[in-house]
Symmetry: D2
Subunit: 335 residues, 4 copies
């Protein structure tokens, strides 16, 4: 199940995630005023944002849409040659969609869909962010001033998507994009692959595939933003509640990944994680950690179980909302 | 409901809590090796312990007993005169038990029971802790070296006891010991007093009375130990789980008191809180904060609800549930 | 040296500090935008502010003035009777200035000067802060919403003033206001009292008197604002530097008080501390901790010594600025 | 100055550092009891240790020797082929020393010296650590139980070595081992290369070369161990001081690397850093950040300057100790 031959590390990192939102103004308020991201560009029905520690011009694209969900997931290649190699490999699978000139701040991009239908692209050319005077940091190695507004997330970290067939998508990412497998939830004596965590670099995971229990396709489980310390996650929880944002789970600690998590729903309905902790994987021959029913539990290392909505809810929501999370904090209704 | 006239602050602080345990050796291991307290004395069936920041010779007494629960709760008076005043006031209620020479490290003590039957005493004379060379801190204002063993709790903070009639006990503490009311959970339009938090100093509460839903008397809800930062509470959670200690709830944040909590069961069965955060009350005319059904919820500010055991379980356990909590993570049912 | 007889605790807490600033607009920016305090009132040449955790209408008054320094230091009495008692006691010393109607949010106030000439007042009646809808917290026991703006200090904590004769002022506070002595720096075999830390409640100190090495009178050493965790102090350091504020010392840990400190100069020139940690003193018979030359060092527990400016600089500055701190961060010149 | 062509990432990570110590027992006490590392093996005059988060059998080798300093620095290759490629490349430089069977827990190793004479080796085969029952974690993805003993460092992070000619060594690591340049201190209009930070993975640096101001060769500046949060670094400072360990600098924050540092000397005299924070570099086309005299200062982002000893002292010490750090904490004399 390890597809690593002497594959170059062709995918450098997650470059940009596009989120679809039926509440574009309120979603913008959430990411900008509550989470402290910076708005850098507006184009069409989309607003482009970034975290103060992201080196790229933009790492989050918010796009107005009838329903919540994930739009295009963009990966940066490690070199022009790596981009060509990956495009060629994907093209051979029949899942390629072809080249575009690239979205804001990026050059030529090769688009494709993963087997579950999530839209993705790979690019190499990237415009580095140059802060305007008012946002220039006193730290020469920090792309943008640390403002101290709201939760003030540092950078994008990873995303988790839902899929009908986790194994098929996981295999695709391993074989054609060079991802390495980090951890897996395998139930029914290893026959049911419920989740797989993958990365191309020492960060624990850049993408996770999780079983879509509703049997839909192309959906998002969550998108994750990094803060530097667990204390920052706790602080973020205060800020979310003070702003009337529904907290679904956490702050607490996962068993798999050891991530310190805080899940809330942005006003458009997408699940957003504020995240710290976890661990780096340096071993080139890392043996994927496997979790069965008993070991996994609901995925927490401490205290309270994750709520049912954590399993049942994704975006776009595909039910008449019977699994809709209930909050007694005065909040939004994502449906 | 505020009984404060120009009463002197006669009770200086919670001095010592005696915990009863049917597992004395394992309880000692929990407080000493896992929580990092120091053993200072052994006498009869009891072991005396302290936190590195406690100034007194001992602040926790562990006593072997057939069943878990709380033994004697000791309060230090602010002066010899204050001790006499409180003894006299309590004597007038008929709940006094008379004077003793005092337990380890303490002088003459006046014993009594609160209306619910919890054994308490007040004393003034106290032997200050003098660290042996090996435990002397490099900080002249710290009674004992910070060892960095396990969760390394700093000092005792407060306790919560169960009572059939919260109002009667709360009133007793206000009228005869000078406690001030900080917060209350009042259900049924204020007619049902479920919990009251009380203090004689700016720390938020030194004792809480909580409705005993089993209708028993003299029981303990939890005993609480302080660490200086929320990050220390998170660290403690890791240490508890690594030591196979059952975590009932947290780390998370209460709405009332704003306390950052972590509840586990020591091997004898008593609920122990590792605690930080909360806030100091400086206002001499503090208006007690009242929480009704809707505002209170289960008492959490963030995320997961507190489990039912948090309401139903106290020590000694009064069900047919040989009370012993079962550990080793995949969890216990206390009933 | 302990003047405590059975004195009531007549002083409840530090109520308000008035800071004088020759840069009123920039000082307001510092406290509001950088430290996250809330502006609540404007009157004459003064702006009134508060921390989100302060229960009173205002706790900091910024007043335009030709030179930096401290204006009136206001203490809240524990009761109307306590106010009368203290006024009478102070009146007997000849240092009383008489009654006023009280500043914004406060009732009748008795004004006086300490022996060194610092202007002070005591009051009892206080208007509690009622947050407007936009600033109402989701926590019923929190006076104001936690906004997450800048360093977002929670409340005022204490102040340190300079004095020609520390002993005379310390004695005055003990005898006539009921302060208790916590720690002292005594050099030359105890003959030279360089600093004394005092409080009327379990918080370590509400005021400190420190030797004015310039031999001036009525000056301020620093005013201190509380954050809940040491991590918040570290975060504040980032925010200060990003805003071009000169950091004089810290974040680091004092030996005396165990306070975790961060000293910066607000644009008007006054030294401001962002502060956490320290410890509570519960012992009614606390023995003051004494530090001699060797034990004290420069007052740090870890690492770097405090700079000379920490000893030499106070406000108003009384030199031609030979002791002016130098910064290599592009910053303001307070002279 | 960027030597990256389409070089494979052949060096996976820093595998093991050997420290030489004239105080082997006290050095072992420092790493084991104070820092919380685990002793796993003894062989010859060496003791092998590891952090609880290290996946390998051992990551630190302590060897008794007449003088402090660094012994062999071991790098793990990303694959058997990578190992061969690097051995061949280094062999061509004339700096190769040939193959050995490998030290404890490792397979065939290719030894060499960097241009400054530091002994290094590369290996691929590695015995993964399998915890004995008593040290097995409740987390399936954690190699070893989190004990909570002392500072409890998680894993080794990086090292900094001194060199006569920084440029020559930096170039060697870039060209022949595939390191990428992250930051540089360049004085005298870019003519004097004082320090260079290098990595083969997204962690900021795995090795730094710093100018040896004494003109010696083969010396160590510091070896660095990771903890997960800045609060853990602060806690470590308390633990070090309580154990009489001299703290040279910190806890504080560097400007270059943004590392949150705490430097102490282990009893043998080697400078050890307890480290957190910093940032990950994901950009494949990262532009090295250059610091000149003015920008660099002494290398701190906040507060106090680094002491002179930070520049002057390395191991083995080559002076009659004129630059010996002075401590006012009762401590050891490394000379």
């Amino acid at each position: 199940m390890t597809y690593r031959t002497e594959l170059n590390q062709d995918i450098a990192h997650l470059g940009n995630v596009e989120l679809l939102t039926p509440q574009p103004e309120r979603s913008l308020w959430y990411f900008k005023d509550v989470l402290g991201m910076e708005e850098v560009h507006v184009q069409g029905g989309s607003v482009y944002l970034r975290g103060y520690g992201d080196y790229a011009a933009s790492t989050l694209k918010l796009t107005a849409a009838p329903r919540a969900g994930v739009g295009c997931i963009s990966w940066r290649a490690a070199s022009p040659e790596a981009l060509q190699r990956r495009a060629k490999a994907i093209d051979s699978t029949g899942l390629g969609l072809g080249w575009s000139d690239g979205d804001f701040g990026r050059g030529a991009s090769y688009r494709f869909r993963d087997p579950d239908g999530h839209l993705m692209e790979i690019y190499y050319e990237e415009t580095k962010y140059r802060a305007p005077d008012a946002l220039r940091s006193t730290l020469k190695n920090l792309p943008q001033k640390y403002i101290g507004r709201g939760a003030n997330v540092r950078r994008i970290d990873h995303l988790a998507v839902l899929a009908r067939d986790v194994a098929a998508n996981r295999t695709f990412m391993q074989k054609h994009l060079g991802f390495r497998l980090r951890e897996q939830v395998l139930f029914e004596n290893g026959q049911l692959e419920l989740g797989s965590w993958l990365s191309t670099v020492p960060t624990h995971h850049q993408i996770a595939y999780v079983k879509d229990v509703k049997g839909a396709s192309g959906r998002l489980h969550h998108f994750s933003l990094w803060v530097d310390n667990r204390e920052d996650v706790l602080r973020a929880a205060d800020i979310l509640v003070e702003n009337g944002i529904f907290i679904e789970a956490g702050p607490s600690k996962h068993n798999n990944s050891q991530g310190f998590y805080l899940y809330s729903y942005e006003p458009g309905g997408n699940r957003i994680e504020i995240y710290s902790g976890s661990f780096l994987v340096f071993a080139p021959d890392w043996e994927p950690v496997l979790w069965n029913e008993e070991e996994r539990g609901t995925g927490v290392y401490w205290g309270a179980e994750l709520p049912e909505s954590f399993i049942n809810y994704g975006t776009p929501d595909v039910t008449n909302a019977p699994s809709a999370p209930k909050s007694n904090i005065p909040v939004f209704d994502p449906y």
